[in-house]
């Protein structure tokens, strides 16, 4: 049996969250217009990342995040102190970002596959510098990431949102349900359908992009 088969035979079949994603919720006092600058500071990166994965376009992502923060500010300014105290800031900001994204994509053309890769070759280079990869492997790697990005962009928006939150951001089903304002069962079904479609699109390339000696989810197996 190959190394890949191991995870579902043992008892510890768990996903390892990507190391680059941190879900720690910055501790804010009660959110409001007076501390909005630090809210922007804390969340702009992850909301931008989310919007970028959803649109495949840097300009769109930037404008979406700007618009989302403006809406959040206006909404916060209208809330009374109790509503602010009870607000779950992080999922709320994601929900707003997703709504802005939806509106924007709806009023725009049907989603284009991005022509220029979002995968920044420099970032990849930095990431892999210390590894054994040769330059040509890095180029291959960047090309592979473009394939993955393009496959993600081919999903219908609701499935793309589920897949992005689940696998790229490593969020739990209940967290995604809260952000998308959907029952958990719907979230699971969307994740499932997204993976099915991605499997169809990426098919034979998956084995190459995700080599059998990869780290990640087998790591926790003892």
């Amino acid at each position: 049996m190959s190394a890949l088969a191991a995870p579902f035979i043992g008892d510890h079949y768990r996903v390892t969250a990507p190391a680059t994603v941190s879900h720690s919720v910055p501790s804010h006092p009660v959110p409001g217009p007076e501390n909005f600058e630090s809210i922007v500071d804390d969340y702009q990166r992850r909301l931008y990342g989310f919007a970028l994965r959803m649109t495949g376009n840097r300009e769109d992502a930037e404008e979406i995040v700007q618009d989302a923060f403006v809406r959040a500010y206006r909404a916060l300014a209208k809330m009374d102190p109790q509503q602010r105290a009870e607000l779950r800031l992080q999922p709320w900001l994601y929900t707003i970002t997703l709504n802005v994204t939806r509106n924007r994509l709806r009023s725009k053309r049907p989603t284009n596959v991005a022509l220029d890769s979002l995968a920044d070759p420099d970032a990849l280079l930095n990431e892999t510098q210390e590894g054994p990869d040769q330059p040509e492997q890095i180029v291959d790697r960047a090309a592979d990431m473009v394939l993955v990005e393009q496959a993600l962009l081919q999903l219908p928006m609701h499935l793309r949102a589920a897949a992005t939150l689940r696998f790229i951001e490593g969020r739990s089903h209940p967290e995604i349900a809260e952000i998308l304002n959907q029952p958990i069962g719907t979230v699971k079904s969307h994740v499932h359908r997204a993976v099915r479609i991605l499997r169809r699109i990426l098919g034979p390339q998956v084995g190459r992009i995700a080599p059998s000696d990869r780290p990640a989810s087998t790591e926790e197996e003892e």
Partner: protein, 244 residues
């Protein structure tokens, strides 16, 4: 357990909390097709986690905050025009509710004056032709030395600034009063300095006659366009200040 159910439970199995776990595992041990699907799904999940993190553009935070400032306070710009007067060319900003600012042309150039006024008003200014009522209001002031306050809008000033300017407007042309006089009139005799600040921040000089407010000694003290201009305006009104 059927293959389609096993496939559907893949993501829950990764969470490690699936109650039917043992059944799924038993099925997997005997079903190479489902093993292959799980393997491929793991590959898909891995591919997605491999996408490099994205960095937002530099200065995005600043842009977002600017965006909020603009969007939250969307204020229609005022219009601005120029009107000739006995003391020189005047810039006059106005909106439908009245004249909002007056500035004397001191030769700094249109751009510099507009920039200063925009900062003072906190909104944009669009150059336009002087409507008749604006030209008439200015002309009437130099004819009668009385500002038509119906045609002036100071509603965006603080209540104290508004009261101080209204008190100043009660000083008859050809006469002067002290800062303290206004402070007393407002019922705040110790607020002479605050009155001074309100006069200094007067956006509509002439029409609200802050030039008629002087030191308690009678000295002209200060004026946005210089004490000489203050003296010239007072002379036009028939008051002859003591030159020191």
């Amino acid at each position: 357990m059927r293959c389609c159910d096993v496939e559907r439970l893949w993501d829950e199995m990764r969470e490690g909390v699936e109650p039917q776990r043992e059944h799924v595992l038993a099925h997997l041990r005997g079903c190479p097709e489902c093993q292959e699907i799980y393997r491929e799904n793991e590959g898909i999940a891995y591919c997605l986690t491999c996408l490099p993190p994205v960095e937002p553009p530099l200065r995005m935070v600043g842009k977002i905050l600017d965006h909020i400032k603009v969007a939250v306070k969307i204020v229609a710009p005022d219009s601005i025009t120029t009107v000739d007067s006995p003391i020189g060319r005047l810039y006059v900003a106005f909106r439908h509710s009245g004249i909002t600012a007056v500035a004397l042309d001191r030769g700094e150039g249109d751009e510099a004056v507009l920039a200063k006024l925009q900062r003072r008003l906190g909104r944009g200014l669009i150059p336009s032709q002087a409507p008749q009522w604006v030209a008439d209001t200015v002309a009437r002031f130099f004819r009668t030395h009385q500002g038509d306050l119906e045609k002036v809008d100071i509603s965006e000033l603080t209540p104290f600034e508004q009261s101080a300017l209204k008190a100043a407007a009660e000083i008859p042309p050809g006469e002067v009063r002290s800062y303290r006089w206004i402070a007393e009139k407002l019922g705040q005799p110790s607020a002479a300095r605050a009155v001074g600040r309100a006069m200094a921040r007067n956006p509509v000089p002439l029409l609200y006659p802050c030039h008629r407010v002087v030191d308690s000694s009678g000295a002209l003290h200060q004026y946005a366009y210089g004490v000489d201009v203050k003296a010239r305006i007072l002379e036009l009104e028939g008051y002859h200040p003591v030159r020191r």
